[in-house]
Structures are given as structure tokens and as C-alpha cells.
């Protein structure tokens, strides 16, 4: 007796410490949920250098924001952009304009000293093959052309138009053009002002989202006030993160509040007094607080989806309390609570262990978000369980209860529930069940799509699609990573890759590629280019001399021009380039020093699904070049773990059976069979309902095992006298679990939705099947 009181006090101390720690974290503002939309995505099995390169890419991408304002009149669009800017200037700490290039002349000056080294692949071919006549024709055509718009710089600086061609090729990497001090892009109908921004606050923090999103909305209103017909397109990771955060917050409160209210009502109606309600809430609150604190201590930051999923914990954590209370207010009024606990303890231990095994399945996946959910739920359950074990016997006094009429009615159902034994009706039921299962499971498709994990609102996707069409942006999820020990090696490897990509452009599999080596050829290539120009154009008696004859200039002019051209042949390095304003749109391609080498990205424009296999094989055999297809990688991880989880589930069944066997011996199957049958029925129902099987259904099946076995244990632990109490406990537990996971099934995140739906069907099925397999020593007539 004394020992029990002591343990209760120790537990009280632990709970107090927990309270203090939570208060400290909350008040310190350190439990700020994170809305990183990538958190649910798997950690991929990559080598560290690749992973670091990747992290750098993601970090720079998530801080970008791009705004397009379009009207049919450029001046109007400009006014709208001015109005938009004025609003953003109110809070300069949030967004920074990333638009340093407003004049293409500035842009050109950074390349002028390197002119002779910068030529296109086509020019290179022409220099090797075309006769003198070809080059003098070009020079003369340029000379007599009245159109200034197509020329860059003075004629004598680029008489054969090689640098002009190169500039034109660079300009064509993007349809965005500087115009009137702004960037512009247009389609057949509208002219858009393009405004790139860099976020100065972290995109995934809710605090910055709350500041940035309303400001953008306000700016957009201001633009619309100036030009009522203006089309505003915005894209950026922060928009997705904010939308995901809003949705998650809403779902979290729906599930949390919904299941709390449901459980309070359920228990109050069942026991018709306040104290059980208070007791159950106590255990759930301690569980949830502990889950929050331990997770925030372990992971530093809590992901918002963990909270959404964690909200369903409410429906599971109260199972132990319910079990205890159902017995307390059931038939065992003559026992004191301590003795009662001792009798219930073996069952309680088993239920806890099996449920933890169920949640453990989530932790076996490489998804950081799921691991956090697993830890959250496990910690919550353990603390709720300990609260029941340490406090309930002391706080709950034995007393007879008056059952509500519906509880009476529900309890009476049990006597009429069919029991399976060897007879014809059981056989018929078995045949029907097998037929139904085969029919249902047969229809299950398979779905490993990445959209299960991240499903942004349609308007964001629409904007994004339109924006990438207008800007002809390269694919953000499929690209090459090129690595080498020196920057020069990276550039040379890029050039080798590009030769292969040029063939794919000819086959029209892609429109083009973006790479730093487009702007900064490798030293080797720059030297080759310079020597080629010298040899093919500036040689004695070559095209330059022939040209001089045609325009009536003498040998002195030829020598002077040659000299002048050769002065602008200094070497351009990646470092030089990255310092120029012109490099701003391309800086993300250069990942720089990563681990003990250098890395860069070669990204692709205009690729489609059919070109993916050829793009992948383009990297084959090239040292240091790696094809990255994130969509494919994530889908394959989802698929791999879907298969892997089916084995884990089978093994878990065996493990749980071994766990149950020492206590239940030959009856252990009665505990396990309801969950197994319920799982098969769930799969069949999902198939009939037209769902496609995905990893998250499998994870839910794992959890059905964890929770469903509890009901089997409740029943198996009961004697004929306490069977009513077990039946009631199962009913209440199942109802509250159904409520929690049913609400999770309303989530807009497809993964959580699948989870909720599967759980709801499965738990309902276990509830219905468990009494069928009860061991009844007195056969019912």
C-alpha cells in the first residue's frame, strides 16, 4: 500500500517536472511548429557530397519568390508593379528584390574582356569548316545592315559576329528580357513585369509566413487597384508552406477538439459522473504533454503534420484508462483498486507493448516526418499508460455504478453475438469472407505517387504551371549533378555532358539546358576557342585580310584590328562570373565547394516524361555526372517501403504471437485473429471502393495490429463474470479510436487521409470480429 502511494508521488513529481519543462518550452516560444513541406519526404540514400549539394540547392530554392504582373499594356503593367513595390517597401526586412540586371549593356560589359573565348558550339563547328567567303559575307552583311537592334557593341569589336551569336544564345536561355529598368516577359495576350525576390526570413517559419503572406496579398490588391485587369502570378516555396501550415492547423484542431469532445461525451454518458471523465482526460493530457515535450527536446522542432497525426493520439491514449474504469465500475466492486490493478496488469502490459510495436512500424521508414510521428505517439502512450497504472488505483474508489440505458442495451448485445465454432454457419461465413476478400483485394491498384505526400492547393499549382510556361523554367526535380576535384574539372565534365545533350536537343527531347559552362567555358575550351579564332579568322591572308580588301582598308588596319581583337581574350573563371550581376539568375547552378570537391547543376528546359529514360542514359559512363530524378526516387522509395512494410507486418504478427503465447498458449490465436481478419477485410473494402494501395495503407495495417490486438487481449483477459466489462471497454476504445482516425481521414494530405480511412475501417472490423472469437466454455444454445 505504502509502496503504491510512494510510486504515485514519484509519478506526480515526474509529471510536475514535465509540466515545468513544457511551460518553459512554450513560454520560451521554442515549440513553434515547423511547416517544412519536404519533411514528409524520405531521406534518400545518397552519398554525403551529393546530399550536401542537394541541401544547398534546396536551401537556395526555398528562399525564392517570383511575382509576375501582366496586362495587355506594358505601361499599365509597369504602374501595377510600382504599386506592388511600394507596398513591399513598407517592410523591407521581409523581401529583397533580386533584380540587379536592368541594363543589358552592363550585362555585356562583364563579358567584353573575354569576347574571343566565348563562342557557341555552332560557331566552333563553322570555324573549323567554313571557307573565307562565308566569314567575309557575314562581316559585310553586318557592316551594311541598318538594323542596330541585333548588334552588340561596335562593328570592329566583333566583325564576324561570333560574340553576337554567343550573346544571343545566352539571351535565349530565358524569355525574360530587361525593359525600361524592369524585367519583362510576354505571351500572345499579355505583357508581364517579372519581379524576382529573395526572402530575408525563413520560408518554413510560421512567423515569417504570417508576415509575408498578408503583405503579398496587400501588394497584389494595390496592383489591382492601379490596373484593375492585371493578372498577378506568384510562386514560391513559402506559399506552399503557408498553405500546408494553415491546412494542418485547421485539421489539428478539428481532430484534437473533435475527438476530445467525443470522448468526454462518451465517457460521461457511459458512467454518468464527472470523475471518470476527469481521470481519462488526466491520462490523455499527461500523455500529450509528454509527447510534445519529449519530441521537441529530441528533434528540436516539431513538424506540423506530427501534430495533425498526434491529435489522433487522443483516441488511443485513453484505452488503458477506459479498460481500468470499465472493470472498476463493473462487477469487481468487492476488490480494492490495488488488487484490481494487479489483476489487470498483465493484460495492460501486453496491450501497451503491442500498440508500441504497431507505432514502431512508422519509425522503420526513412521519412523523418513519420519517425517523429512514431516517437510522438509512443511517448504519449507510455505516459498515459503510466498515469493509469500509478494514479488510477489511488484516485478511483471502488463503487457500484448505475449503467445508462444504452450501456445496458449494448452489454446485452454480446450475449446474442455469434460465436464462431466448427459448424455449417461458420463454414458458410468463412467461404463468403474468402470470396469477398479475394474479390476486393483483386481490385486493389497500386499508387506510389509523390503527390501522396504533398498535395498543394490547386490555385498554387495553376499559378506555378502558368509561370513556368511563361518563364520557360527548367525542371526543378530532374537535373544532373556534376562533380569534380577542381572547378575546371567540373566545367570540363559539364562540357562532355552537354555534347550528349546537344544530340537530345536535335531529337527534340529537350529544348535546352542551363549550365555554368554555358557562361564560363572550361579553361581548355576557352583556349581552344581563342586559338581557333586566331587560326581561322585572324591568320595571314585569312578572312580578316580578305575583308580589308573588300572595304578598302590596308594592312595597317588589319594589324590594328587583329591586335584590338586579341586584347579581349582574357580568361573568364567561375569566380569572376559569379561576382557579376549577370550571373544572378544562374548562381544556383554553381554549388561550389562541397566536401572535398566542387559541384554544379545542369538543368533542363522543356523535358517531358518520354525523354526521361534517354536523359538518364545520357549520364551513363560520364565520370562525376549523376542524373537526379527526385520524383522517380521518391516514388521508388514509396514503392520499396510499401513492399518492405508488408514483410514487416507479417513479421510483426509472428512477433506479437510469440509475445502472446506464454500467457495465452493455445488461445493466443483468438487474440490475433480478429486483427488479421480485419486487415484483410480492410484491404478488400479499399479495393472495392476503388482505392489504390500505397505505403500509408500498409502503415495503418501495422497500427491496426497494434491497437486491434488490445481488444483481443481485453476479451481474452476476461472471465465470464468480467466479460461485460471487457466488451464495454472494447466498445468505448473502438468508438474513440474511430472518432480520432475518422477525423484524420478527413485530412487533405492524401497520406494522412489514407491512414485515417484504413484505421477507421480496420478498427471497426476488429470491434465486430473480436466477440465472434471469444472463448466460451459454456456453448450457447
Amino acid at each position: 500500500m505504502n509502496q503504491r502511494v510512494l510510486l504515485a508521488w514519484v509519478w506526480a513529481l515526474v509529471v510536475c517536472l514535465l509540466l515545468a519543462y513544457s511551460a518553459h518550452r512554450w513560454l520560451g516560444g521554442r515549440i513553434a511548429p515547423n511547416t517544412d513541406i519536404l519533411a514528409l519526404l524520405p531521406i534518400q540514400e545518397r552519398d554525403p557530397a551529393l546530399q550536401q549539394a542537394f541541401t544547398r540547392l534546396v536551401d537556395s530554392a526555398q528562399q525564392r519568390l517570383i511575382v509576375l504582373l501582366g496586362t495587355d499594356d506594358w505601361a499599365q503593367a509597369n504602374h501595377a508593379a510600382d504599386a506592388y513595390d511600394r507596398v513591399l517597401e513598407q517592410d523591407p526586412g521581409l523581401l529583397q528584390s533580386a533584380n540587379p540586371i536592368t541594363d543589358y549593356r552592363d550585362w555585356l560589359t562583364s563579358f567584353q574582356p573575354h569576347r574571343l573565348n566565348l563562342i557557341t558550339p555552332q560557331s566552333e563547328t563553322d570555324l573549323r569548316s567554313q571557307p573565307t567567303q562565308y566569314w567575309t559575307d557575314i562581316a559585310l552583311a553586318k557592316l551594311y545592315s541598318p538594323f542596330v537592334g541585333l548588334q552588340v557593341g561596335a562593328w570592329r569589336d566583333d566583325p564576324f559576329g561570333l560574340f553576337g551569336r554567343w550573346v544571343q544564345a545566352r539571351a535565349q536561355e530565358t524569355p525574360v528580357r530587361p525593359r525600361d529598368g524592369r524585367l519583362s516577359v510576354s505571351d500572345d495576350h499579355l505583357q508581364y513585369v517579372v519581379m524576382p525576390f529573395t526572402l530575408r526570413v525563413p520560408a518554413f517559419s510560421m512567423k515569417s509566413q504570417r508576415a509575408v503572406i498578408p503583405l503579398l496579398e496587400q501588394a497584389s490588391q494595390a496592383a489591382k487597384k492601379t490596373a484593375p485587369l492585371v493578372e498577378v502570378l506568384v510562386a514560391g516555396v513559402i506559399l506552399h508552406a503557408a498553405a500546408a501550415g494553415d491546412q494542418a492547423r485547421q485539421e489539428m484542431s478539428t481532430i484534437g477538439i473533435g475527438s476530445s469532445i467525443g470522448i468526454v461525451l462518451l465517457i460521461w454518458v457511459t458512467f454518468q459522473r464527472v470523475s471518470p471523465v476527469a481521470m481519462i482526460l488526466l491520462s490523455v493530457v499527461v500523455g500529450c504533454l509528454a509527447a510534445l515535450s519529449v519530441c521537441s527536446w529530441l528533434f528540436g522542432q516539431l513538424h506540423i503534420l506530427t501534430l495533425v497525426f498526434g491529435a489522433s493520439l487522443v483516441g488511443v491514449a485513453q484505452d488503458y484508462g477506459i479498460y481500468f474504469l470499465c472493470h472498476r465500475f463493473g462487477v469487481d466492486a468487492q476488490l480494492d483498486s490495488g488488487q484490481l490493478l494487479r489483476r489487470l496488469l498483465p493484460g495492460l502490459v501486453l496491450t501497451l507493448v503491442t500498440t508500441v510495436i504497431g507505432y514502431f512500424g512508422l519509425a522503420l521508414t526513412p521519412f523523418p516526418g513519420l519517425r517523429q510521428m512514431a516517437v510522438f505517439s509512443t511517448v504519449g502512450l507510455i505516459f498515459a499508460w503510466l498515469t493509469v497504472v500509478f494514479w488510477f488505483p489511488i484516485l478511483v474508489y471502488p463503487s457500484a455504478s448505475t449503467s445508462a440505458p444504452f450501456v445496458q442495451w449494448y452489454s446485452n448485445r454480446l450475449a446474442r453475438w455469434p460465436v464462431l465454432c466448427v459448424n455449417r454457419s461458420t463454414l458458410l461465413a468463412a467461404v463468403l469472407f474468402i470470396a469477398f476478400s479475394i474479390f476486393g483485394v483483386w481490385q486493389l491498384g497500386i499508387n506510389d505517387d509523390i503527390r501522396l505526400l504533398h498535395n498543394p492547393p490547386k490555385n498554387l499549382i495553376d499559378d506555378q504551371i502558368k509561370l513556368s510556361r511563361l518563364l520557360d523554367t527548367p525542371s526543378p526535380v530532374q537535373f544532373y549533378i556534376v562533380r569534380g576535384t577542381t572547378p575546371e574539372m567540373v566545367l570540363q565534365r559539364e562540357e562532355m555532358l552537354k555534347q550528349r545533350l546537344d544530340q537530345l536537343i536535335e531529337k527534340r527531347l529537350i529544348n535546352g539546358y542551363q549550365a555554368v559552362s554555358n557562361w564560363v567555358p572550361s579553361l581548355r575550351a576557352q583556349t581552344t576557342h581563342r586559338q581557333l579564332v586566331e587560326r581561322s579568322l585572324l591568320n595571314e591572308g585569312g578572312p580578316l585580310a580578305a575583308l580589308a580588301l573588300r572595304i578598302g582598308e590596308n594592312g595597317g588596319w588589319v594589324a590594328a584590328t587583329r591586335q584590338q581583337l586579341l586584347t579581349s581574350a582574357s580568361t573568364l573563371t567561375p569566380d569572376d562570373f559569379l561576382k557579376t550581376a549577370a550571373s544572378e539568375p544562374w548562381r544556383h547552378l554553381w554549388l561550389g565547394q562541397v566536401e572535398d570537391g566542387y559541384s554544379s547543376i545542369v538543368s533542363l528546359r522543356g523535358l517531358n516524361k518520354t525523354s526521361l529514360p534517354e536523359l538518364q542514359s545520357a549520364a551513363a559512363g560520364l565520370e562525376g555526372v549523376r542524373w537526379v530524378d527526385q520524383v522517380h526516387e521518391i516514388s521508388s522509395v514509396l514503392s520499396r517501403y510499401r513492399k518492405y512494410m508488408s514483410w514487416v507486418i507479417l513479421l510483426s504478427y509472428i512477433a506479437v504471437y510469440c509475445l502472446l503465447y506464454p500467457r495465452y498458449r493455445s488461445s493466443a490465436w483468438r487474440v490475433l485473429a480478429p486483427t488479421a481478419l480485419a486487415s484483410v477485410a480492410t484491404l478488400a473494402l479499399l479495393g472495392i471502393a476503388g482505392h489504390s494501395l500505397q505505403l500509408f495503407h500498409m502503415l495503418a495495417l501495422m497500427l491496426i495490429l497494434g491497437i486491434g490486438v488490445d481488444y483481443g487481449i481485453f476479451f481474452q483477459e476476461s472471465s465470464t463474470q468480467t466479460r461485460q466489462a471487457a466488451w464495454l471497454a472494447v466498445g468505448l476504445s473502438a468508438l474513440s479510436t474511430l472518432l480520432s482516425f475518422g477525423l484524420l481521414g478527413l485530412s487533405k494530405t492524401p497520406a494522412l487521409q489514407a491512414f485515417g480511412i484504413t484505421m477507421s475501417i480496420g478498427i471497426a472490423a476488429v470491434w465486430l470480429i473480436v466477440p465472434c472469437l471469444r472463448y466460451d466454455p459454456i456453448p450457447t444454445k
Binding site: A141, R177, G552
Partner: protein
């Protein structure tokens, strides 16, 4: 109606009185034929070259279609500018083709050139600040680019004309200067030769 516009101009201070009147008046002086063809004589003075580059040829401006610019002497070269592309021909060979889908500037270049050659000052006004004067039946305007980037490339453009544009002078910031004089201007369907029509 005119006075109402003027009043607005004064109120907003956006349009100086003297600039507004010639544009409208010059617009009214210009014949706006559907097809306009003629000869041109071009004189180009380039820095770093002793002699001016003198050339001549034929040109056509066709409404809703574009511009055909054929240098005949001393170096045959044809440039065709339409809404969707700029094509440069040397004999029958396509020496260069610039597609508007690849190069968005194509449409802008074409509309500027079309506006310049046909003297469409309203259109020109979108890209340049127009300053002009009228003397009896002829007019003269100088243009300054609105885009600061363009200002640094082309310091000044001067146009002269009466019912058609008679000459264009382009001064570039590099010191290069191009002057083009138009003559033998014909309008209407018959203005274009069969050969020219085939090139379009």
C-alpha cells in the same frame, strides 16, 4: 475635344503643349498606304573605318505583314521582318533566322522598325520620346529612347518626311552614324514587284 486634351495635359504636366500638337498634326499629314515601296540610299560612318559604307537597294513596308529590306549594291543581302521572325537571306541561302518564340525581342524590333519606316508616331511614342517641328508641308522629329538601356546604345534618331518618311538618321553611342534617304516611293498594290512579293 482638343482643348479638353490640352487642359488635361496642362493639369497633369505630363505632356508639354508644344510636343503634343505636332504629333497629331504629323499623323494627319502622313498618307497611310497599305503597301509602300521605294529605293533607299544608305550611308554608314563607322568608327575605325576610313571610308563611309555606302549602299543602296529597295524596301517595302506592308501593313499587317512587315518590312522587306533588300540591299542590292555593293553587297546583295535581304532582310525580312515579320511578326514572328526576322530572316536574313544571302542569295537563296538563309544566313540567319530569329524566331519570336526563341527571341521575344523580335516582335519589339519589328514593331519599332515598322513604326519608323511608316512614320507611325503613335506607335513610335511607345518606345521613344518624340520632339518635333513642322515647316510648311514637311516635318522633322527627333526621337529619344524611353528605355534607359536603349538610350545608351542609340543616342538619337531623327526622322524627316512629308506624306511619307523621307529620311532616317540613327546616331549610336559608339559614334557610328547611319543615314538613310528614301526616294521613288510608290504606294498601293502595284508598288511591289513580283520578285519582292515572292520574297514576302
Amino acid at each position: 475635344m482638343t482643348s479638353w486634351f490640352t487642359a488635361c495635359g496642362v493639369l497633369f504636366g505630363a505632356m508639354p503643349l508644344w510636343a503634343d500638337a505636332p504629333v497629331a498634326e504629323i499623323q494627319s499629314m502622313l498618307a497611310k498606304p497599305k503597301v509602300l515601296c521605294g529605293d533607299f540610299d544608305q550611308n554608314k560612318q563607322l568608327t575605325g573605318l576610313k571610308r563611309p559604307m555606302v549602299s543602296n537597294g529597295r524596301f517595302c513596308v506592308v501593313a499587317d505583314k512587315g518590312v522587306l529590306w533588300r540591299t542590292l549594291h555593293p553587297f546583295p543581302n535581304t532582310v525580312r521582318l515579320t511578326r514572328d521572325e526576322i530572316v536574313q537571306l544571302q542569295g537563296d541561302r538563309v544566313a540567319m533566322r530569329l524566331d519570336a518564340r526563341q527571341e521575344p525581342a523580335v516582335r519589339m524590333i519589328n514593331s519599332v522598325l515598322f513604326a519608323l519606316l511608316s512614320g507611325d508616331l503613335n506607335q513610335i511614342g511607345k518606345f521613344f520620346e518624340v520632339d518635333g517641328a513642322i515647316h510648311e508641308k514637311s516635318w522633322r522629329v527627333t526621337l529619344k529612347a524611353r528605355d534607359p538601356a536603349l538610350v545608351r546604345a542609340i543616342s538619337k534618331v531623327a526622322l524627316e518626311g512629308s506624306e511619307h518618311v523621307k529620311s532616317i538618321t540613327i546616331s549610336e553611342s559608339s559614334g557610328d552614324r547611319t543615314s538613310i534617304v528614301f526616294s521613288k516611293i510608290q504606294v498601293g498594290e502595284g508598288a511591289m514587284s513580283v520578285e519582292e512579293a515572292a520574297l514576302f
